[in-house]
């Protein structure tokens, strides 16, 4: 084993923006780096609107169109661990333990067009986890309004006498099921910016080096020497991540929770393995392994072939 496996991976944060973090991980295998990427995009639980009960919709947009838009709105999810997945909850459809309710009610009474923004969505669930004194910053299910005016996302426009009245139920979920639950808006992932490993093939007209722009990460690695022979033993070793939050979770939270989710998956399997320990299958494998049951007739209940 090389130096990397003894010391473990190294992390360098290069930049932290308003909703993104840019960091480099060194001395790690591509397999694990890619697992982190995948888990951060697709498997961190967040909150998103999942059910919409439309009471009145006289706007120009169809019900399902608005429902789809509502689903994609990022909702504050820092405290989402306090909620259950609906499938694990004992309620019939949804309840306070597994969902957050939001109301939207807007009616245009003037001649001017009225804009309905996400800030008009009101969280109606009184949750015990929310800290209402703290200026509503961490409240579960609060729509994210990160723009300068604090209006949030435009949901729809209403003409005079048009009305929109609906109830939304936000549930906990992961992006593997639907992308609306993804906490990451964009995920930058790069390794080997000089393409020394030939993992990619640049299309070109005359000269690939001339026609393709250099990656910003090229400054972090040695450029290839001229006529350098291809090193077929080389392995990627340095990974450039840019995690951009969609708003539901803080960028640092996405990274840390991503790792936690991966660990919980592993811990879950270890747990199942331990449960299996008590069943015949594993003990059979184990006793056989010690050589005591060598050559015995296989367990008739289990088809070994």
């Amino acid at each position: 084993m090389n130096r990397s496996s003894e010391q473990g991976p190294e992390v360098t944060i290069r930049r932290v923006g308003r909703e993104d973090v840019d960091f480099v991980v060194k001395d790690m295998d591509l397999a694990l780096a890619n697992s982190f990427r995948r888990v951060m995009i697709g498997e961190i639980p967040t909150l998103a609107i999942d059910l919409v009960e439309i009471e009145i919709n006289t706007s120009v947009l169809a019900d399902e169109f608005i429902a789809h838009r509502l689903g994609l709105i990022p909702l504050e999810s820092t405290l989402v661990d306090n909620l259950l997945f609906t499938r694990d909850c004992d309620c019939d459809q949804y309840c306070d333990k597994c969902s957050v309710e939001l109301m939207l009610s807007a009616r245009c009474t003037t001649d001017a067009t009225m804009d309905v923004y996400t800030r008009d969505l009101m969280v109606t669930t009184v949750s015990q986890y929310n800290n209402y004194d703290n200026n509503n910053n961490n409240n579960l299910g609060q729509p994210i309004c990160n723009d300068q005016e604090g209006k949030g996302i435009l949901i729809c426009k209403l003409r005079k006498h048009q009305e929109l009245r609906l109830k939304c139920v936000a549930k906990k979920g992961i992006a593997k099921e639907h992308a609306k639950w993804s906490p990451t808006a964009a995920m930058g992932f790069e390794y080997d910016p000089w393409n020394k490993l030939r993992h990619t093939d640049y299309w070109y007209e005359e000269d690939a080096n001339e026609e393709w722009p250099k990656s910003a990460n090229c400054d972090w690695e040695e450029p290839p020497r001229e006529n350098e022979p291809f090193d077929y033993n080389a392995k990627p070793n340095q990974y450039y991540f840019t995690v951009e939050s969609a708003g539901s979770l803080k960028q640092h939270d996405i990274v840390m929770r991503g790792i936690d989710v991966l660990q919980k998956k592993l811990a879950g399997i270890i747990f199942e393995l331990k449960v299996l320990d008590e069943t015949s299958e594993k003990s059979r494998l184990d006793t056989e392994f010690q050589g005591t049951a060598y050559g015995q007739t296989p367990n008739p209940e289990y088809n070994w072939n």
Binding site: E10, A31, K265, A267, V275
Partner: protein, 119 residues
């Protein structure tokens, strides 16, 4: 932390999560396992750490059909340890590896040794 993980797993204990597939060797040094609801996220990393074990001769994973949430993993050892032990130590090692990365990340965040843009 460990108790917490255990508790959570106990809550979602799912007897169909893990299965030993037919095709294990008589002495238990080679076996195939099937994990439900897992994919490349776990598969590739797990294959990598298990292969890092010098006692392991072969480890590979596959997702037999894209429409089924199943992941099969095959482990063959040189005979000193059983396939299940190899899997278990692989899982443990991967958790440790994750711990290191998370620790270093938090350490870096707290050190404040980076450029930042305030809102």
């Amino acid at each position: 932390m460990e108790d917490e993980v255990e508790e959570q797993s106990a809550q979602v204990l799912d007897p169909t999560k893990f299965k030993i597939l037919p095709g294990a060797s008589e002495d238990g040094s080679a076996a195939s396992f099937q994990l439900m609801n897992e994919d490349h996220t776990l598969g590739y990393s797990l294959q990598y750490v298990i292969m890092k074990n010098p006692e392991v001769e072969f480890c590979g994973y596959s997702i037999p059909h894209p429409s089924e949430p199943k992941m099969n993993i095959r482990i063959q050892t040189y005979g000193k340890i059983s396939a299940i032990d190899a899997l278990e130590s692989g899982l443990d090692n991967l958790i440790d590896l994750c711990d290191v990365v998370e620790e270093k990340f938090i350490e870096q965040v707290n050190s404040g040794n980076y450029k930042s843009e305030e809102p």
